[in-house]
Amino acid sequence: MTNQVAIESDEIQAQRIRFMGLALPVRLGELAESLAFATVASDHPKYPEFLTRTLGVSIRLIDWTVAEVDPTVQSELAELRSHLAGWLRDTQAIGDDPAKRARVVAELREWSQKILDRSGLANYDNWQVEFDYPPGIRAAAEVFV
């Protein structure tokens, strides 16, 4: 009988543990960054494969974050996840249609900015708040406060 239980690979598990150790604003910042990075797929020679992988990363980051954000952001993340899952199902068709590609890139950009706004990392005032940054980010806060 086939085992139907989804097993998390060691690599994904290591990512999850690393990610879950970050402060919530930093996690949202990582999500914003991964959404922006997914736009690279538009010009990539292995378009469907690259888009599939980059969208998959963003979906995982949402899954690892959504339980801890406030209800408003939770709704937004749920909506975003729905878009990403839709694009994931449709990567070949998106790849074959330049107009669809352009639309997906534009929407990824919009979502990236929205999530970055929600993270608070782009708000200068928040740089004076003691987030639990990773070492490099913490150093950045010390420099810029």
């Binding site: 930093v26 914003a32 960054e33 991964s34 990075f37 990363v57 990236s112 980010i137 150093a139």
Partner: protein, 95 residues
């Protein structure tokens, strides 16, 4: 968190020393490595190298630097982008 893409490398680049750290799970990990090696934080910028298209990307949330006139994830200053690109291409293309 995209290090699983073997055709993609996250980097932190010290534009003054002309060095970079790469391969971390996060840009911040790469940045921390440079800081530990004596780089000054204000000289470090986040980037990505995508070998298949030989492209340097300049977008990371470690690049958000209000006091260095960079309030966005992407490096806004074309001259600074050129300095980052020069370091990355020298390291990855040997030019």
């Amino acid at each position: 968190m995209l290090e699983e893409l073997e055709d993609y490398v996250k980097l932190a680049v010290d534009v003054e020393q002309g060095v970079a750290a790469g391969g971390g799970a996060l840009h911040a990990d790469c940045e921390a490595e440079l800081l530990a090696n004596g780089s000054k934080q204000e000289n470090i910028w986040g980037a990505d190298w995508i070998p298949q298209v030989r492209e340097v990307r300049y977008e990371s949330f470690i690049n958000i630097r209000p006091r260095q006139n960079n309030p966005a994830m992407v490096i806004l200053d074309p001259a600074l982008r050129a300095r980052v690109e020069a370091v990355v291409r020298k390291l990855f293309e040997g030019v």
